[in-house]
Symmetry: C2
Subunit: 481 residues, 2 copies
Amino acid sequence: MTRFLLLLLLPALASCRILTSGDILSNEINDDDCNLPEALITEIRSFEETANTIMNSILNGKFKGATFSELAEFVDTFGARVSGTKNLENAIDYVLDKMKSNNLENVHGEEAWVPHWVRNEETAQIILPRNINLPVLGLGGSVSTPKGGLEADAIVLNTFEQLDTENVTGKIVVFNEDWVSYAVTVKFRSKGASEAAKRGAVATLIRSVTSFSMSTLHTGWQQYEDGITAIPTASITKEDALLLQRIQDRQQRIRIKLNLQYTRYNDSLSRNSVAEIQGSLDPQKVVLVSGHIDSWDVGVGAMDDGGGAFISWYALVVLKQLGLRPRRTMRAVLWTAEEPGLVGWSAYNASHFHELDNFTFVMESDEGTFTPLGVEYAAGTEGGCIIKEIVKLLAPINATRAVASARGVGSDISSWTESLIPGASLLNANERYIWFHHTQADRMEVLDPDNLDKATALWAVVSYIIADLSEDFPRSRNVSN
Amino acid sequence: MTRFLLLLLLPALASCRILTSGDILSNEINDDDCNLPEALITEIRSFEETANTIMNSILNGKFKGATFSELAEFVDTFGARVSGTKNLENAIDYVLDKMKSNNLENVHGEEAWVPHWVRNEETAQIILPRNINLPVLGLGGSVSTPKGGLEADAIVLNTFEQLDTENVTGKIVVFNEDWVSYAVTVKFRSKGASEAAKRGAVATLIRSVTSFSMSTLHTGWQQYEDGITAIPTASITKEDALLLQRIQDRQQRIRIKLNLQYTRYNDSLSRNSVAEIQGSLDPQKVVLVSGHIDSWDVGVGAMDDGGGAFISWYALVVLKQLGLRPRRTMRAVLWTAEEPGLVGWSAYNASHFHELDNFTFVMESDEGTFTPLGVEYAAGTEGGCIIKEIVKLLAPINATRAVASARGVGSDISSWTESLIPGASLLNANERYIWFHHTQADRMEVLDPDNLDKATALWAVVSYIIADLSEDFPRSRNVSN
């Protein structure tokens, strides 16, 4: 097939590959889709022994259980690590010190100005039709109610469209939206306050964005629209959203008292934590692995994103201690202040803009480190075929799937991977990720030592091979050779 | 086979039928085990049309969704219904009034003295190795700490045996027991305080008794041993128990500050709620269906045991409104004060002791109303065969399983069914029951309208047929005819 003909066909092929929730198999690349040069396939296969050495050292050797036990000690020592806090900076110092004691190279912090928002006091009470305590959890960046709280009638809505058909002026708007998917449903959390404020609402309470609840409150950042009055906004449990819906459906008046007190301090300096294994032949070229070190103030951020940060760090620790130094530089970055809006990445991107041409491949794990299945990638067809070949070497840990993302991958790295830098995230059995997301249940017990070992092994094998290949990983998207 | 030979074989057969967790199939009765008279089988099968009428009216007819919507209105109106409180009595008044408006017969309350234990204030803090807030939930009946709290070193244990090998004097004992099953593991909750007090501990913190946690606290009643100093006792989350275990395993000193303030008021009068459909031929004989109306103070007791109470009540409502009056009396009892130790049942048992010979069959649902599968029974071989034949009529709702219990069934009715009164409980897909048990997550959202309909239908069909059979349900145990 000529390249020209193939280009004509590509839009149709691409449209088959839109990632759909629960059906990622349709985006899985097959060998039949690939036409890699034999030499490249042979080269990738030549890494089998190295890959096995890496996996063995983690699954059965000296690194067994290390990712979990190091992460447990870290979160047990520091707990939650909130953007702007001294505790986060202490945690970053701890990590940088440890990275140095791991003999990683070029270990340093890179400064970033980050937001600092703190919850002081949060109470809410349904007072009509009867007194019911209403647990609430403010959304990141929310303004406060007046001191002493506010009291208003509440109206329960299910869509933004209802804001135009119902009178919400002076009311507390309760969004009891159905769960569809995080991508679809999160808009109620991120934009609900401003949408309701435009129509005169005095506060919003958002049903926690989750597929499953055990009376669990989920926080998360939210964004006020410029020029719109900022009103206080907090999450409530799915159970209470449905309770309020039933009360309204019975034609009963709902009145709520809400006292939300927060402080937004001035931005403060934090740091992205960086460690490297310098490349042996092309040290200016970079394969980057990453996760974020900051967390929400509920739970301890073991899952989001302790797991992703620590597999990125430990991938380098393992390679270094095994004496594996690839052609290109491997760089681990533990982002700061991801939760308030990719703030650490944004600073990093600005200061490394000149260097991005040298970013061969970027990886981020920020969607759980449950049982690893393979990788999700944004890398074009040829890139996907290379990844497919690489993950075959992960057969010993049963993580051989390569799934194309329709857009970018990752959270911090999403802008990079939506444009031209190829990248990958960890494909893992994360069906329950959302259950724990931004909740007090984000604890070490979500994680499993063996799964973390497998994730570290996968992360190390994939990044190492891409960093050591004789040819640079292809940048072109959607073009097969 | 002669009856004599069969009797010799029975101990061996019975030993195959010990209920084992996760393997109840081995206790399922098969037609091959049965030798019912043809006339009895024919009679049971003659109920098919009636059974279908009952099921249809609930699943597709006028009662569709009624059990759920009535229960939702009830728990939304009253919330938690704690033994000894005015709120519980208001809820009982509401139920009795509704039962009368349902035209049920002989509707009345029967008095019982019940405990009244209230939690006032509960805070705990790990202060060494660092300050960590420690959510706690006191166990029912716990005494208070001194005003202002107590502070002590803590020791984490996994078994009662370790109380004899470790020095716990003056310490807070944290029981971080593995989850095995509720039956096995609950002893740490119910007896942990006294066992630790015997060795000089000053308080106990018990890992919540559950197979799964989302930082969830589980309360429950606990029993102080006579003559042993009563020490304060509360549950902690599984996550915090494991955190404390890890800290101890790192040889770090653990110090905890604990402030638990409770009030034990004098016992007060409550009521078991009773409604009947009087028997047409043998009104003195009773088939009893039941669940308990009281709940813990966390959550709203929708699952434990709103579902069981309401299917019992609604089984009678449906039969009454369909004009079905069986030979024997059907009696619904909504027990009060089950949670503090079957207190309502105990009073009822004492005042009805003279009548127990007339209790033909007793039923209780207190282990969830998830997808109904059939019934678990304590009824001997012949009784089991009758039940097996009856549940065949439940094929339209796919709930045809009849499983023998090695001991009794139910909670309130367990003493009755462990002795000679045959009885049954609802067999349902309750694998997640323990997740929500005695927690703030026990809300309406655990329940499903269709499953509640099926449970009501099952409950009505089984109880009605047993109440209407021409022969009394057999009392003899383990004797086939």
